[in-house]
Symmetry: C2
Subunit: 138 residues, 2 copies
């Protein structure tokens, strides 16, 4: 590659591919409910911000709102999260994890952390911290 910017783009793309593959490999044991990688990500994100309206979750994940409507419906049907009407705004429901959802989050956390460790194995501790710090700025 001549242009370092293209290099970054392709490397990051492959990073995500490997991450998904590694999580997927572990997920056979973990994802008995088959919420999928996107569902896992949504639960992971919701764990950080709950209780939150669906719009907040959408923004946090950088996805599309119609996509989120369906995903949240799926996760609700599987008993991973619950909606409670917002007292402030009649259009809004607040999402929060159920006990099932929390268990799933814990399992996903382990799978993702292990997958990241695997991929970042070639890096030293200092480089990992630097990478995390750099990404946080974006």
């Amino acid at each position: 590659m001549t242009d370092p910017r293209l290099d970054i783009a392709t490397q990051v793309d492959r990073f995500v591919r490997r991450l998904n593959a590694a999580v997927h490999a572990r997920a056979e044991a973990v994802d008995a409910e088959r919420v999928g990688p996107l569902g896992g990500m949504a639960l992971l994100t919701l764990a950080e911000i709950e209780p939150a309206p669906i719009g907040r979750l959408t923004a946090e994940m950088g996805r599309d709102k119609s996509q989120m409507t369906r995903l949240v419906g799926l996760l609700e049907a599987k008993g991973m999260l619950a909606r409670t009407p917002s007292p402030d705004d009649g259009r809004v429901s607040l999402l929060s994890l159920t006990a099932r959802g929390q268990a799933q989050v814990a399992a996903f956390r382990n799978a993702v952390a292990a997958a990241v460790d695997e991929i970042l194995a070639p890096l030293g501790a200092g480089e990992r911290d630097a990478l995390a710090a750099t990404l946080r700025k974006l």
Copy 2:
């Protein structure tokens, strides 16, 4: 986020989302042939390694081979690349870009580079180089 590894996973995920969105926004002008982001990535990759068999391209992109069969068929139908039978192995064809494909590559290169610039804007030059170097190790 408590665990820095989860942090890295979500940040990288969002990076790719933003990258795709930014390229997509520019691609309306560029991607008249509608090869899609994956097709663009394939052409970009092929430009670096041509002439190469489909298996090499598959490995380089970290994708699935059956997926590549279809994608290459599409790109061939659009006149972006050509196959020539390998003299060494009767099972293999070597892929190479056509003039059309090369033009498309040039356009995509610009779109991707601009998108990366946009996303990496918060970083200093030193940090960008460090990021590129770190990713190359993975």
